[in-house]
C-alpha cells in the first residue's frame, strides 16, 4: 500500500507541496502578525470587506462572460475585456449629455437606467459582431488560433475606440444620489458601493435564473455539455452561441457602468486589468461554471482588498498595497496548480482541459 503510494508521488509533486506549504505558512504568519500588532481596527476591516465585495461583484459580472463563452466554445475570449470597455465608454457621452442638460440631477434614476441600457446595448453589439466576424469561421481551427485571433481583436477594438473617442481619460459625471454614506447598525457604507453590490447581485440572480430556469438557458447548457448531441436534439447551435455572447456582452456592459460609477473615469485601456482579473475569477471558480464565476469573482475581490493588509503588512513588507495584483495572480497560479478544476468546478476531462 505504502509502496504504491510512494510510486505515485513524483519529485515535482514534492516540490509543489513544499511551495504550497511555504506560502500557506507565510499567509498564516503574516495574518497573525498583522492582527497582533493591531494596526487596523474593526472599521478598517469592514471597509476593506465592503470595497472588496463591490469590486468582486464587478469581477463576477465580467467573469460570467468569460466562463459562459469558455463553456460553450472552449476558448478564452481575450477580447471580452474590450467588450467591457466599450459599453461604459460609449455611455459616457450619454451621461455627459444628461449631466450638462441637468436631466441627470432631475431624474437620476431614469438617466441611470438609460446609461445602463446604452452601455449594455453597445457591449452586446460589439460582442455579437466579434463572434460573427472573428470567431465563427474558426470553430474547427486548432486551439491556438482562436486565442491569437482574440488577442488581435482585442487590440483592434481598443484602438478603434481610442480613434473614436480620443486617448484621454474621461471623468464620469457625479450622480448626486449615489454620493454620501448610509449607516447600518453602526457601520457606514458608501452609497455607491452599496448600489454596486446590490445591482450586481440582482443582475447575477437574474442571469442565473435565466440560465437555470428558461428553455433558452437549458439549451445553452446542453450545447456547452455536448455540441453534437444537442444539434441532433434540434438545438440551433449558432443561435445558442450568439445568445451566449449576447448575455456575456450585457453583463459586461452593466459591469462597465458599475465600474465607471465606482472609479469615476473611463479610458480606452480600462478593460485590460479587470479583464484579466475576471478571467482569473472565472478560473478560480471553475471555468465553465456560472455560480463558480460569481463566487470566484467575489472571492478574488475580497482577497485583493483584504489580502495586502492582512498577509503582507505583518511580514514587514513596505507598501503592501502595490502588491495586490501580485496576490491575485499568485492565487491564480496556486489554484491552477493545486485545484485546476477551480473551487466549484467539476472534474474536467482531457478534452475540455
Amino acid at each position: 500500500m505504502l509502496k504504491r503510494w510512494k510510486k505515485r508521488i513524483t519529485p515535482t509533486d514534492v516540490v509543489m507541496w513544499l511551495i504550497g506549504g511555504a506560502i500557506l505558512v507565510l499567509i498564516f504568519w503574516g495574518s497573525i502578525a498583522t492582527l497582533a500588532t493591531g494596526t487596523y481596527t474593526g472599521h478598517h476591516w469592514f471597509d476593506f470587506i465592503i470595497f472588496g465585495l463591490a469590486q468582486g461583484s464587478i469581477y463576477a459580472l465580467i467573469a460570467m462572460g468569460y466562463t459562459m463563452v469558455y463553456g460553450i466554445l472552449r476558448m478564452i475570449n481575450f477580447a471580452h475585456s474590450e467588450v467591457f470597455m466599450c459599453g461604459p465608454y460609449t455611455a459616457y457621452y450619454v451621461a455627459a449629455a444628461f449631466y450638462s442638460s441637468g436631466f441627470l440631477d432631475q431624474y437620476p434614476i431614469v438617466s441611470l437606467i438609460m446609461i445602463f441600457l446604452v452601455s449594455m446595448a453597445t457591449s452586446t453589439l460589439v460582442a455579437v459582431l466579434l463572434e460573427r466576424i472573428a470567431y465563427r469561421p474558426l470553430r474547427t481551427a486548432p486551439r491556438l488560433i482562436p486565442l491569437i485571433t482574440a488577442i488581435g481583436a482585442s487590440f483592434f477594438l481598443q484602438y478603434t475606440f481610442r480613434g473614436f473617442y480620443g486617448s484621454g481619460f474621461q471623468a464620469y459625471p457625479v450622480v448626486q444620489i449615489l454620493e454620501g454614506e448610509i449607516t447600518f447598525w453602526g457601520f457606514r457604507i458608501l452609497k455607491f458601493q452599496a448600489v454596486v453590490i446590490a445591482a450586481a447581485a440582482i443582475l447575477m440572480a437574474a442571469l442565473y435564473s435565466f440560465v437555470q430556469r428558461t428553455r433558452l438557458g437549458k439549451a445553452i447548457r446542453a450545447v456547452s455539455e455536448d455540441k453534437e448531441t444537442s444539434a441532433l436534439m434540434g438545438i440551433d447551435i449558432d443561435r445558442m452561441i450568439v445568445t451566449t455572447f449576447v448575455i456575456g456582452g450585457m453583463s459586461a456592459g452593466a459591469a462597465g457602468v458599475l465600474y465607471a460609477l465606482m472609479f469615476k473615469q473611463v479610458h480606452f485601456f480600462m478593460g485590460f486589468i479587470p479583464g484579466i482579473k475576471a478571467f482569473t475569477a472565472a478560473v478560480l471558480g471553475g471555468i465553465g461554471n456560472i455560480p463558480g464565476a460569481m463566487l470566484g469573482g467575489i472571492f478574488l475581490g475580497l482577497v485583493e482588498s483584504v489580502g495586502p493588509s492582512l498577509f503582507l503588512d505583518g511580514l514587514g513588507i513596505v507598501a503592501p498595497y502595490q502588491l495586490k495584483d501580485a496576490i491575485a495572480f499568485t492565487m491564480l497560479v496556486l489554484v491552477l496548480i493545486f485545484r485546476p478544476t477551480g473551487i466549484l468546478g467539476e472534474r474536467l476531462t482531457v478534452k475540455k482541459a
Partner: protein
C-alpha cells in the same frame, strides 16, 4: 447582386470606420505621388478596389457583364456610404463624440469640393474603383500579377519614402535617384511612371523566364550548384556585416530592435513552436536577464560591478534556472491554462520588480541606470551601429543552436510532445525532463536577449517588461510561421520593423496590428513562412496537394 450589395456595405462601413478613427486624416499628410494622391486617399481607394474585386469574385455566374455590374454596384455602395457620412457630418456636429470628425476630414473625403459636388464625386469615385476592380478581375492572370506588383511597388516606395531617401543619399552615385524619384513629400510624376514601367518590365521578364532560370539552376551539376549557393551565402553574410554602415543611425536602431525580437522569437519558438507549450509570460525571462545584468554590473547599486562579459554567463545560468523554476509548477497544465498561468507569472515578476518592497535591490519604479557597455579589446558596443554586431552574433549563435536542437533527439521529443502528449509519454518520452528543457532553453535565450537589451539602453525600467511584449513575441512567431526559423525573422521584420519605420503613424500601429492578426488567422493561419508539417496540418481538411493555390510567400528578408 445581393452579395455585391452586402460586400459594398461592409466596405462602406470599413471606410467610415477608417475615417472616424482619424486614420485617413493622418495618412493624408503623406503623399504617395506628390500633389496627385495622398496615402489617405490611397487607403480609401484600396478598400473600394478590394471590395469591387471581392464582389466580382463572388459572382456566381461567369458572364463578364454580370461580374462588371456587380463590382460596379459594390463600389457605388462604398462611395454611397462614405457620402452618407459626409452628409450626416455636415448636418450634425459629430465632433462632440467622435474626436476625429473634423472639418478637415470632410474636406478630404469630398476632395475639397464642398458637400454637394463632393457627394457626387464620391459616388463616382466609388463606382469607378468598383468598375476598375471588375476589369482587373476579368483581365488575364499575367497582366493581373504584373499590375499588382508594379502598383504595389509604387505605393511601397511612397509609404517608405522616408526610409529610402536617406538610404540613397548615403551612397554617392545613387543620390541622383533621389532627385529623379522623390520630392519633399511623395514621388515625382515622372518617377512614379518610370518606376511603374521599370517594375512591370522586370516582373514581366521574371514571369516569362523565371521558371526557366530556376530549372536551369537545378540542372547544373552538384559542384557548381554548391559553389553558387556558397557565393549566395557569402554575399548574404557580407551584406549583414556592412548593413549598419550602409543604413545609418536610425535604421540601425530599428535593426537592433528587430534583432532583439528575433532573439526573443527564436527562444520562444523552442517553447511554443517546437514543444507546443503556449507561454504568455515569456517577458519574465527577458526581465530576469536584464535585471541580472543590471544588478551585477551597475555601479549605481554597487553590489558587484562586474563587466558585461563577466556577467553574461551568470545571466544565462540565471535565465535557465528561472526557466526551470517557473516551468516546474506548470508542468501538468495544458493549452489555455498554461497560457494564463504563464501570463500570471509574467505579471507577478513585473509587479515584484516595480514594488517598493524590493526597491533596495532592484530599484523600484526608477529602475537601475548606469549599466556599462560591453567592450571587446578597445571596441565599445556603444551606439546601435555597434550593438548591432553583438545582436547579430547572438542571433547567429541562437539560430545555430536551434537548428541543431531541432534535428536532435531532444528536438524530436519536443515535437512529439507538441503533437500528442499522451502518445509521446506512452512512447517513453520523459515529459518532465522534455518540457523543463524546453522552458530552460527558451528562458536562456530570452535572458541573453535581455542582457543585450539592458546594455543597449544602459538602464532598465520595470515598464519595459509589460505583458504586451510577451504577446508581441507570440504574435511574431505565429505571424511568421510557427516552428520555422526564417519565419521568425520574417515575422519580426513584419511586426516590429515595419511599425518602427512608420513611426509617425504610431497611433494606428496597434490598430493595424490587431486587424492584421485577425485577418491573418482567418485567411492564412499557418503564417507568412510556415514549416511544411504545420502547413499541411492546418490545411488538412481542404484536401492534400493544394499547395498551388497559395504559393509560399517569397518575402525578401
Amino acid at each position: 447582386m445581393k452579395q455585391a450589395i452586402k460586400i459594398g456595405l461592409i466596405g462602406g462601413v470599413v471606410e467610415i470606420l477608417l475615417s472616424l478613427i482619424g486614420m485617413v486624416e493622418a495618412f493624408s499628410q503623406r503623399d504617395i505621388v506628390a500633389h496627385i494622391i495622398s496615402m489617405g486617399h490611397t487607403l480609401l481607394f484600396i478598400v473600394a478596389l478590394f471590395m469591387g474585386y471581392l464582389a466580382a469574385k463572388r459572382t456566381p455566374r461567369t458572364g463578364s457583364l454580370q461580374i462588371l455590374s456587380n463590382s460596379f454596384i459594390s463600389g457605388l455602395i462604398v462611395g454611397g456610404l462614405v457620402s452618407l457620412l459626409v452628409i450626416v457630418g455636415s448636418l450634425i456636429n459629430l465632433r462632440k463624440v467622435f474626436v476625429n470628425a473634423m472639418p478637415v476630414l470632410y474636406e478630404l473625403l469630398t476632395f475639397k469640393q464642398g458637400t454637394q459636388i463632393g457627394v457626387f464625386l464620391l459616388l463616382g469615385a466609388g463606382a469607378l474603383s468598383g468598375a476598375l476592380a471588375g476589369l482587373f478581375f476579368l483581365s488575364p492572370k499575367l497582366i493581373r500579377r504584373v499590375l499588382l506588383i508594379s502598383l504595389g511597388s509604387i505605393v511601397g516606395a511612397g509609404v517608405l519614402q522616408d526610409l529610402l531617401r536617406p538610404t540613397f543619399a548615403l551612397w554617392g552615385p545613387l543620390a541622383i535617384i533621389n532627385e529623379w524619384l522623390f520630392t519633399a513629400n511623395g514621388l515625382t510624376i515622372q518617377g512614379a511612371i518610370g518606376l511603374f514601367l521599370l517594375i512591370s518590365a522586370f516582373s514581366l521578364f521574371w514571369f516569362r523566364k523565371g521558371a526557366a532560370i530556376q530549372t536551369g539552376f537545378q540542372q547544373l551539376p552538384p559542384a557548381p550548384q554548391r559553389i553558387l549557393k556558397m557565393t549566395g551565402i557569402l554575399i548574404l553574410v557580407f551584406i549583414l556585416l556592412i548593413l549598419p554602415r550602409v543604413l545609418g543611425l536610425f535604421l540601425s536602431e530599428v535593426l537592433t530592435i528587430v534583432g532583439l525580437y528575433v532573439l526573443l522569437g527564436l527562444g520562444l519558438n523552442i517553447v511554443v513552436g517546437y514543444a507546443g507549450l503556449l507561454d504568455l509570460g515569456y517577458v519574465a525571462f527577458f526581465a530576469i536577464g536584464s535585471y541580472t545584468v543590471a544588478v551585477l554590473t551597475s555601479p549605481e547599486l554597487g553590489f558587484f560591478s562586474l563587466s558585461f562579459w563577466q556577467a553574461l554567463p551568470l545571466v544565462i545560468v540565471m535565465g535557465v534556472f528561472s526557466g526551470v523554476l517557473l516551468g516546474t509548477p506548470v508542468l501538468k497544465m495544458r493549452g489555455d491554462y498554461l497560457a494564463i498561468a504563464t501570463l500570471g507569472f509574467g505579471e507577478i515578476i513585473r509587479i515584484l520588480v516595480l514594488s517598493d518592497f524590493l526597491r533596495p535591490w532592484l530599484g523600484g519604479a526608477q529602475g537601475i541606470g548606469k549599466i556599462p557597455k560591453a567592450f571587446i579589446g578597445g571596441f565599445e558596443f556603444a551606439g546601435p551601429q555597434q550593438i548591432y554586431y553583438l545582436i547579430l552574433a547572438g542571433c547567429l549563435l541562437v539560430i545555430f543552436i536551434s537548428l541543431r536542437l531541432r534535428d536532435s533527439r531532444l528536438g524530436r521529443a519536443w515535437m512529439a510532445v507538441r503533437e500528442d502528449e499522451d502518445v509521446a509519454q506512452a512512447m517513453g518520452i520523459n515529459l518532465v525532463a522534455t518540457k523543463l528543457l524546453a522552458f530552460a532553453t527558451g528562458a536562456g535565450f530570452s535572458a541573453l536577449s535581455g542582457a543585450i537589451f539592458a546594455s543597449k539602453l544602459g538602464s532598465v525600467y520595470p515598464h519595459s517588461f509589460n505583458v504586451m511584449i510577451s504577446i508581441n513575441i507570440v504574435c511574431v512567431i505565429i505571424v511568421g510561421g510557427m516552428g520555422n526559423i526564417p519565419g521568425v525573422i520574417v515575422g519580426a521584420i513584419a511586426l516590429v520593423g515595419l511599425p518602427e519605420l512608420l513611426r509617425e503613424f504610431a497611433e494606428y500601429r496597434l490598430f493595424v496590428y490587431g486587424a492584421a492578426l485577425v485577418a491573418m488567422m482567418l485567411l492564412r493561419p499557418e503564417g507568412l513562412w510556415p514549416e511544411a508539417v504545420h502547413r499541411r496540418e492546418l490545411h488538412e481538411e481542404e484536401g492534400d496537394g493544394e499547395g498551388s493555390e497559395s504559393p509560399p510567400e517569397s518575402k525578401p528578408d
